[in-house]
Amino acid sequence: MQVDSLLRRPRGASGKPFALLLLLALGAGPQAGSIEAAKAPPTAGIVSAAPGSDPGREAALYPDTVFRPEGGPQVAFFSAGSTEVVSLRVSVPLEESFDEAGAAQILRVQARNRMVSLGERIGARVDVTRTPHALVYQVYGSVQDLDFLGWILAEGLSSPQPSLFDEARRSVSRELDRRLETPEGTLSLRLRAQLVPGTAPLEGRAGTLERLDHGHVSALWARTHLRSRLQIVVAGRVDPLLALATVAELGIPDEGPRPQLPAPEATGDPRGSPEVIRHWLARGYTVAAEHTPRALVAARHLSLLVRESPGDYEVFLELWDLGRSRALVVTGAAYDRSRTAMIRRLDGLLDESEGLLGPERVRAISAELRTELRMATHSPWGLANLVGQRWEAGEGVEGAARLLDALEGVEEADVRRLLASLREGARAQEELRP
């Protein structure tokens, strides 16, 4: 491991870390067992940036240092703030087969229960979440408690316990039932099944949850929780080497079964059917992952259209991350009296959007989205989440910074092209009637 050849990027450079550019120019990717240092210490002058210029605006989103020791884990350090608070976020990339849908949620509940009670002892906060790409363990607290924070993480990441299985499964089933009892929850699960058929819903499936046992959950843990697969983001005011020492040994095995999914097997599953008093309709349009920035702008544009000219019905827009792709989803709800008007609005929304799209609108939306993303850097844990989500999605440790750059480059023509492709492409649709 190299520890002495730290490359410094002067703040205010065009955006890409100097170290990464250099490696690419040499035709090499990041080396195994290397350390890259990408940005100058934060005390070194962001406050001296000239007003009106835009130097190093996304500097917060580039790591100070990235450790890539042989055999893992990969650790990216971000210095943030002067308060002695640190956030440790461990991401375990994970994909479930259709037949084990919900096993990751059981792991999540077990880990969370273990971590919360430990975190309370020292006033640290913990969170365990299932994202479309990973199971994420996060803990944040005082730098003085760094060793304890590491211990909390290790407890969370440890193998599932048979004695806790039933309670965790009941908790996951309850959450799924609650979701299926709402029109939004039922529609989203059904629509997702159409958009990415054969993949496991993140929330789990009622039929599968009943059949799962501790062995399934344990097998999922064993094939995913391996040192080499961990991606760790450390954000805060902490010595990187000290933090590395904390997260390098989390009790995770080096080797395990090959991370291969069991073969999918389509089985019946009870369809949620909540009683509704309004007519609900959801439509989903698949978008390629590389078009995420323009899809974000398009979704916000459509959302503003509905807000600026509302009807006697409710319509909302979302951009879903489906793992390997995205989906622009429009959902509407209307009483009988407005049902026809709502359907007409949804039918014509993409055409309607064309007329009001212009360069000013795209610029304003892009600025708004970038601002919202940047605001995540207000705390070490927000920064760690923003960076970690893009990293585990396969966009690299600079994925969040690149997303912001890409958003700045979105033009009216890009959005028009995307809207045209949505109009012409296939769409998924689900509805619930009173």
Binding site: T43, A80, S82
Partner: protein
Amino acid sequence: MRWTAGLALFVVLTIVGAPRPATAQERVLAQIDPGGWLTGVTLLVPSGSAMDPAGSEGTALVLGRLLELEGNAQLSSRGARLEVEVRRDDMALTLLAPPEEWVDALDELRALLFGGGPLPEARASSLLEQQRDRAIFEEGAPVRDFEVERARLLLGAASPGARSRDGTRSSIATIDAESLRRFRDAHFDPARVRIAVAGPATELQLRQAFPGGFEEVRPTAPFVRSTPLTPRPRPDTAAALPGDADLSPELRPGPLLRLRSVLEPPVPGSGPRAWDTGRRDVIDRELTSTWMSVIWPFPAGTSEILLGFLGHLAAQAVVTTPPDPGLFRIEFALDEHEGAPVLVVSASVDPRTTRAWEAKITGVIEALAASPPEGAFFELGRRRYRSARLLATAAPGDRSRWLARTAHAGRSVPDEELEIWALTREAVSRGATAAGEPRVLLMGPRAMFEDPGS
């Protein structure tokens, strides 16, 4: 010559920029943190929902939401955001901006708040409609009724602060863009606003933003670790801390004197409390849970750090692991009444367990006075409290909001690290002993928890 003069004028204009709104009367605190990525600036307007015109409850809240929407629409091109929090006695408008943009973003915000311009009618109408829908949806919700009853318990039924912050269907119907503008113009006076800056900022930026001067709050590690702009208080600008207003800079209390407020907390009778005698109110309602509030008055001048720690220890004593199935929800908060602090505990419980929970909560301060945690338990509690405070003020917006509120309440900004480590068992015991009799409110199915005839 003309060319030279023109160049000189250009240079001056470039440095100084466009004329800024009048700022001479503003009172400003700044705590510099060069390591941060965003600068937080809070403008605390000392008028909240208690100032709503009679019959138009909800005015301050809707104005706050409108300013937040309008501010964000204007500020997003600068990468800045505005968060507005409306409370009973104040409205905190917190700007979060990249370090190179906060000065200009603040100018834009000042124009929106103090410029006297019209407010956007369409946006106001849409917000009012949303707020009215929400009020209709929440009509009769126990949590909203309980909030009003709790405020009455604290402030008295006739107090304007005891009205609904969110408004009612009929009160919101009386509000329009013009009445919102009138509220803004009547209450948003730069001379009454407290401003606090937290995060990365240079002295040049601070001078540009606040030509009338600012006071620097020294950063204290580990809460904020950095080098202050100035090694000692600036005699020309250091008159802003309300608690110190009558003292010359040399006579203002230093850290050791301030530490005495923790080591030697006020004893009973040492300062006025919000009330002298407690009371117990029961409101009979057919509900599936009992809503409960217990409020203790403490002497004016009690250290915020000590009170926060007392609340923290009380929470630890009351909330057990594993969770008690009879307790649905519980919150601990500090508030103020008549210039003196109060500790407020609010809970919702299974009606059958009401009496047990009432006894448990009302007894907790007395128990801390008689027997505070000892040894390792005390150390652990203090360490946990320190971490909780660190997390609560780690983000620049949270920190600037806290600084502004502390200054507005007339308190000196505490040296958190010093005061937390100075907390002792004895200080906890003395602090708890100084609490007055609590006021208790129970709202729920009386027959399930009160003896007949009581």
